[in-house]
Amino acid sequence: MIEARGLTRSFKTRERVVGAVRGVDIDVGQGEIVGFLGPNGAGKTTTQRMLTTLLAPSAGSARVVGYDLAREAIDVRRRIGYVAQSGGTEPEARVGEELVDHGRLYGLSEAEAAARGAALLERLDLQDSWERLVKTLSGGQRRRLDIALGLIHEPPLLFLDEPTSGLDPQARANLWAHIRALRAEHGVTVFLTTHYLEEADTLCDRILVIDEGLIVAQGPPEELKRGLAGDVVALTTLDVEDAGRAALVLEARSGASAPEVEGVVVRFHLPSAADGLPQVFRALDDADIAPVGVEVHRPTLDDVFLSLTGRALRDEPVAA
């Protein structure tokens, strides 16, 4: 559905040329839900705007739904839906009017656009809102209307830019269910950007991690997490001195990664905590160190991101 090679976009600022997207390759197959994950300013939206014909790439090429982005932009537009982060509805317009007018821009007849619009409202739990003014909808309802608009021409590929940002957890979970249903019932391919790890983790089949305009990792969420050496273990010791000694003991042991000490907490990775922890405890016991607490967790995408970029996802992007 998407086949992009070396997609690049640079902006000229007063002093220099800044590379917002610095050559990304993207492949998305039929029926996939692919997440584009990265901090704000990493280049997610810029890449998506290039793939949706809104922004001309400075370099590189892409085929979207089988058509060349640069030479066949109109054919691409006919076959994609795009829901921008800010949405795209007129507050003073009525829900039904927006759906019909938008469908008509794709060449649907008035009756066809109205029928499809009504069916979409039904599917997205917005029935009975046909006559309502857009400004009277809640945030979650408006987001679903945006998605309905993006689907009015039944595109095989849907782009969503930060679909759940600003929604409360309930509305977010509800939207995830709708996005899954789109794929399950209609085979729609979805390419979404997000800076929520949870969203990428629970919703997406595959994730592309982008940082500073480059794709730094990609794969299914499980695989990305597995790639990060095993389990994360956090040991709490009695005092700072014990923590330092524990770190030395762990360092001497093979099989554990270099431990990090933070106060009385020592953090390290084990290929498998279930197999490795007993030995760790024995070694500590031999050194006369008694941990007061232990915590084991599977690595999260947060850890993946941290290990790939050296920064936590919620950190501010490095000053551009």
Partner: protein
Amino acid sequence: MTTASQTWLIFRRAMRLSLRNPVWVIIGLVQPILYLALFGPLLERVASTPGFPAGDSWQVFVPGLLVQLGIFGAAFVGFGLVAELRAGVVERMRVTPASRAALLGGRVLRDVVVLLVQGALLTVTAVAFGLRAPIGGVLLGLVVVALLGAAFASASYAAALRLGTEDALASLLNTLAVPLLLLSGILLPMSLAPGWLRTVSDANPLKHVVDGVRALFLGELGSPTVVWGVVAVLGLVAAGVAFGTRTFGRESS
């Protein structure tokens, strides 16, 4: 779907939204009527000044007001587009296969229709104040004003798209509005001006448009003044529409 039917679709949508909240249409109309009521009577005396053009003061003043309506009614439509940009409406329409010219043209058409209604109401009100002019000339004058409005509306939308914020658009309009207004002879005819000022204003196409509409209101349909006025307004339309369609067609705006 042809560009014409897409233009019609965008026009209908824009018109529907304007009618739902017609407060700006009304404000746009009230201002010229205030000029008519509060400034017009002053001109009845000024009309006897040497250098004042032929015709009675209303035949000189009302064309000026119509042109002013055409310029300023249309020049401010960009603010509406900034709001649409912010709401994401423009971008949503730009990802459809719709013709970019239709996205612009439909909105401009709405503005021209609003302008014609305002201009017609203004003219009828002026008759009540004492305007007497040949009907053919008045109708042609309204056509010229509509064309002027199309030129300024296109340019205003293009400027809005390029600037993207109300603040930037407001400073641009304020910078341009006062010199254009003073050098066009809209309020007082340039025939009253000293030689140097007249020369400067001759370079302003709007001055020729105002003179042309005034000549139309005097019934001088085939006069050189009218021809120059029409040439000037067509030039402005060509420039405004070219600027507008180029900007709307750009990939990255």
